[in-house]
Structure formats: C-alpha cells, structure tokens
C-alpha cells in the first residue's frame, strides 16, 4: 500500500564512544566525528575507529576517497585507505571544511586555509576577524562569515575579492542556483547577498541567532532556524524576502541540526530533545514525517541518493534513517 505521507524508519544504528557532532557520507558508509576525538566509520551494524586525536572533532569532510577531519586543538588530518597524515596543525580551530576545485579549504581563526592537490599550502587573511563559517559559492569562490562581517575569497587567486559589511555572521548557505548567499547573524537576522555583491537584503525578526540555514535544491526557498523557530522564505531570481516567511511549527526545543535534501524540496531538522522532523514547503501545517531518537541531535547528513539520512546524537548514537517518499512529499 502506498503511503500518502513520507515515512522515516531507522534502518541501522551503532553506539559510538561519545557524542557524534559531525556526520558525513563516504559512498555508502557513514563517518562520524566524535567529541572524544575519534573519527568512526559505520558499516552496517558495526563501527570502527579510523583515526583518533586528543581533542573533539570540529569539522569533517568526505573528499574523493578520503576523510578530512579537523580537531579543536588545531590539527587537520587526512585519512585515506586507513592511512592518516597530518595536513595542518596549530593554526586555530578548523571550521567548515569544504571541497574546492583545487583541493580542500577550511576556516582557522582569521584565515582561510587552502591545501591544494599539488601539495601547496596557502593561507588567506579574510580580514573579517575570527571566521565562524564558510561555504563554496561556485568554482573556487568562497563566502566567509566572521565576527566583523563577510568576505568573498577567491581560492584560485588566493585573495579577498571584497568585504561585506554585516554584524557577526555565524552560518552561511549558498543558493544551489549560485545566485545568492544567505548568512545568519548573531543578532537574529539573515543577510541575503547576491554573488559578488557587498550589500545584502536583511531578513530580521528571529528570536535568537540564526545558526542553521539551508536552501531547497530548486532554489525556490531558504530554510532558517533560530532557537525553536523554523521558517521558509520564498526565493526567486530577484531575491528573497518579498513576502513573509512560512512558519513550520513542530519543534518546542531549540533546533540543533538542519539539512536540505539533495534533489527534492524537503528539509530535515533535529532538536535538542532528539526529535527529527521532515518538512515539505508544500505542507506547512505539519511535518510530513517524524522520528524520535535519544539525546540531542547534533548532526544530520543526507546520502546523495536522497533516501537515507545519517543522524549523530549527543549520547553517541549514530543512526541511519530511511526515507520513503509519500505522494505528498
């Protein structure tokens, strides 16, 4: 029988040694970065340590056939075929590991660190104070958010293209159609900035800092979470914010994780009470599917096939949920 609504089912679960704050997919395997400094790989109902460092994992990236992990003490390690090598160390807390055409990049203190495939290590001062988040816009162009605004950083030329005047920016999400960047600030606003622009449109009114953002894959909506409030702003080729956002009411605890589906316009959210919600902007009155896990939801990641979601929680559980689409979602 075909369900009208989508469903979420737990298809696999393993217990990890500590809270799983970062989750990524490496082909069909789930890799989690834990608070005790271990990076664990889940294969079926088994978990194996692939590398361990002395401080919590601060960033994680699946890059080609490798895992790149950043740790709070400043180390960045690359693990490939079971062999770990140090990519960088002692340059500040690595945040927001991303893949660029030339290699990998991340934020460390006030610099964007770039490690090229040819082995060249480059550091670019983004000139916006301590960097809190960055994202790849297109090609080698990054948008970087920090404690004194935003910056466009070109990782092919290793320079800052321009500075965006804004309050402290803590979350960055790039429109999949590469038209805009959305950046959430500490004061409770979103700044939607056209690619290459230095001035953005401010969407305000959130109860607290906007720390989670995600664009729907069609580019027709921007999801944002602040405290327990979740909204979707309609987007078009002109911009975002011409009309009031839709409120998605379904969390009564702070939302701690958000990820947009890779192909379909749905988004998954998790909160501090372990509640997982699956939302479709076409059905705003209630979530299209839910699941209750234990602990605080710390990380969610869609598999590229769009049918599985990896979820990491504070009690060290790493769960894979299977999503079966209903006729609504």
């Amino acid at each position: 029988m075909t369900s009208l609504l989508s469903t979420l089912n737990s298809v696999a679960r393993v217990q990890l040694p500590d809270a799983a704050g970062h989750v990524v997919w490496l082909d069909s395997l789930v890799v989690a970065g834990c608070a005790d400094g271990s990076v664990m790989m889940m294969d079926g109902d088994q978990a194996a340590t692939i590398v361990r460092c002395g401080s919590p994992v601060s960033a994680l990236l699946a890059h080609n056939d490798s895992i790149v992990a950043g740790f709070i003490d400043g180390d960045v390690l690359r693990v490939r075929h079971g062999e770990a090598c140090v990519v960088a160390s002692d340059q500040g807390v690595p945040r927001s590991l991303v893949e660029t055409p030339g290699g990998v990049a991340w934020a460390a203190s006030e610099d964007v660190q770039i490690r090229r495939l040819d082995g060249l290590a480059v550091s670019v001062d983004a000139r916006i104070g301590d960097i809190r988040h960055l994202a790849v816009v297109q090609g080698g162009l990054l948008f970087v958010g920090g404690v004194s605004g935003g910056a466009w950083v070109d990782t092919t030329l290793d320079l800052v293209d321009d500075i965006v005047a804004a309050p402290t920016l803590i979350a960055v999400a790039v429109d999949p159609l590469h038209r805009f960047v959305a950046a959430g600030d500490l004061a409770g606003s979103i700044h939607v900035i056209g690619v290459g622009d230095t001035v953005g449109n401010e969407l305000s009114g959130y109860p607290d800092r906007v720390h989670l953002l995600g664009w729907l894959p069609s580019g027709r909506g921007l999801c944002a979470a602040a405290d327990d409030e979740l909204t979707v702003w309609a987007a078009d080729r002109v911009g975002v914010g011409d009309s009031d956002p839709q409120q998605l009411v379904g969390h009564d605890r702070p939302i701690t994780a958000l990820a947009a589906h890779p192909r379909v316009d749905v988004v998954i959210t998790g909160d501090s009470g372990g509640l997982i919600r699956l939302w479709s902007p076409a059905v705003v009155d209630e979530p299209v599917a839910s699941a209750q896990l234990s602990g605080v939801i710390l990380g969610v990641a869609w598999h590229p096939d769009g049918h599985r979601i990896a979820v990491g929680t504070s009690d060290g559980n790493l769960t894979v949920l299977g999503m079966r689409s209903g006729s609504v979602a």
């Binding site: 809270a19 104070g129 301590d130 920090g146 404690v147 004194s148 402290t168 803590i170 504070s314």
Partner: protein
C-alpha cells in the same frame, strides 16, 4: 536553590595567575566528580582525566572583530562540546583570563537558549593578589584596572591570596578597599583562614536574594584616569509590592542604565504571588522566576534587590523601589 537535575552547574573563575592555580586545585579537590574545564590557558585545562577545551585568546587579533561576539560564540561552542556528551561532567569550571570579558560571558550564560538547556550559573570566583593591591594602595595607584574592578563588583567570592605576606594594617587597607568595590562578594584570605575547595562550588549564588549587605565600611578607591568606580545599590522593603510598579521600576532601571549594569539580583514579594519573584540580570538582560524553586528554609517575605554598575543614581533607584510598596 536546587539546580535542575539536568543542568550542569558552571563556576566561573577569574583573576590573574592565581586563578589558574585555583582551577588546578579545584580539579584536584573535586577529583571524585568528572569536571569539565573551559579555558584559554592550556596549562590549566589540559589533563588526561578531565575533559577540556580551549577558549581562543582574544589578544593578537589582526582584524577589528567584535571581541564580545567571540567570547559569546566561543563560550557557547565550548560548553556545548563539554556538556552535550555521552557522559556529562558533574560541573564545569570556566577560567577567564584578564583579557576575557566577564560581563559578556555571564550574559551569555544567563541568556543563551542553547546554554539555558545545558548549564546553570553557580557562582563567580575572583582571585586577587593582596601584595600587589597593597603596593598600589600605598603608592596611590589605581586600585585595579577597570576590568578588575568590574569583576570585583560582580564576584560572589573574592579570594585574597598572599594575605599572610602583609602586616595586619596593610591587609586591613586592602580588605576595606575590596569591600568597598565588591558589593556582592564574600571575601576570604585562604592563606590565613583556609578555604575548602568544596566551599567554592554549589553556591547557587545567582538565585534568590543576593548575599549582599548594606555597606558598613568603605574607603576611597583610586581608579584609572577617565574611569569611575562601580558601585552597588542595595534596596530593601518589608511588605508586599505592587507587581505592575515593580515591573515598571525594573524596566526603567534597565532602560536608563542598560550596559552600565554589571549585575542585578533580587527577590521581591509581590501582591498576588504566594512566593517571592526572583530577579537576575547582566547589562540589559534581566529575567525572573518564582522562589518556588528554592528550598523552604531559604524563603523570606522581605523584598531585596541589589544592582551593581557604573554611574547608578542610588537615591533614585532606592526611592523608586520604595515607591513600589503597597500602602
């Protein structure tokens, strides 16, 4: 007040080099319980047994970033990493050095939604060096740098180290000066009267009526040129208060003084409420809860509020509070 079972108590330790030493001793003295230490000083925090995490030092920043935002973000990130764990620490000690902004850290601890579900501020401990203070007093130098005076005005416990190296008269001068600035803090000289580590935790000092008394002794305190000394205004009324008038009085204090408020705390008995309403805040942030959360033996019918800050109009604050009483 008994801290809610799922909230981890946080003790903020601040001061100079003595503060790092104190944290080290607290870790040893509380070794039975898992403790998380959040610090910008790796030497004080790193340990194979306890969980630890570094706050990033603010000094040396190349760009003109907002230091307050950094403190807030680092604190939230650090505490989440320490507490959102498979096994939570029994308590967390946050060590702030001389460059860290205590007011911002406390405002974050009290107001941040993420932290409200994780932690509860237990108390603020400030360490001071008696010998250095005594030297400054004798030479007529500022009693302390402005951030130090602010910390003293906020602290719940002031530990005066090296007090045994001073003669009685010099120690007395130091203590009177400290008493003049530290409106909320109980003072101790551990080298003369030993203090057990367990007396520095479980304070619940930010709940209910403040442990502050009207000042009996005071001394002129020299401050840096261009600055002023923080002061603490103490208000007390016996009898029921008008709830609307109290709200209006509180709103006015916050609106008029805003960022000049270093700490606000009280418990007021308002008409129509069986229990007192407890207030607490830092800068422009203030919140309230019922004293129902407090053990019966700590409840009272008196209304007490204390406000520490800069340039406070003490007479206006007190008369405004008196005017909230129901006649």
């Amino acid at each position: 007040m008994a801290v809610a079972a799922d909230l981890v108590p946080v003790t903020v330790v601040t001061g100079g080099a003595e503060a790092s030493l104190l944290v080290h001793r607290m870790r040893l003295g509380l070794a039975d319980d898992p403790i998380g230490v959040l610090s910008g000083n790796a030497g004080a925090a790193a340990d194979d047994i306890h969980e630890w995490l570094r706050l990033q030092p603010v000094e040396g920043s190349r760009s003109s970033g907002c230091a307050c935002c950094r403190v807030r973000l680092d604190l939230v990130e650090g505490l989440r990493l320490l507490v959102d764990r498979r096994v939570r620490p029994e308590r967390v000690i946050v060590l702030l050095d001389a460059l860290d902004d205590l007011s911002t850290a406390l405002q974050t601890l009290l107001s941040d939604p993420d932290l409200q579900r994780l932690v509860e501020l237990d108390g603020v401990i400030q360490t001071v060096d008696a010998v250095a203070l005594s030297t400054r007093v004798r030479l007529g130098l500022p009693f302390g740098a402005q951030p130090e005076l602010e910390r003293l005005a906020i602290a719940d416990r002031v530990l005066v180290v090296r007090g045994d190296e001073l003669v009685d008269e010099a120690l007395h001068s130091v203590m009177v000066g400290l008493r003049t600035v530290a409106g909320f803090g109980l003072m101790a000289v551990p080298s003369i009267w030993p203090v057990a580590v367990k007396e520095l935790v479980g304070l619940n000092a930010w709940h209910g009526a403040p442990a502050v008394q009207p000042r009996i002794v005071s001394a002129p305190v020299v401050v840096e040129h261009g600055y002023e000394r923080p002061d603490t205004v103490y208000c007390e009324v016996d009898g029921e208060l008008d709830p609307d008038a109290v709200e209006e009085w509180l709103d006015e204090i916050v609106a008029v003084n805003a960022s000049r408020i270093l700490r606000l705390q009280g418990a007021v008995r308002v008409a129509g409420q069986e229990f007192r309403v407890c207030l607490r805040g830092v800068r422009s942030f203030a919140t309230s809860h019922s004293e129902l959360m407090h053990p019966v033996d700590q409840r009272s019918t008196r209304s007490i509020v204390a406000v520490a800050g800069y340039g406070l109009d003490a007479a206006a604050i007190r008369s405004g509070f008196d005017a909230t009483a129901l006649r």
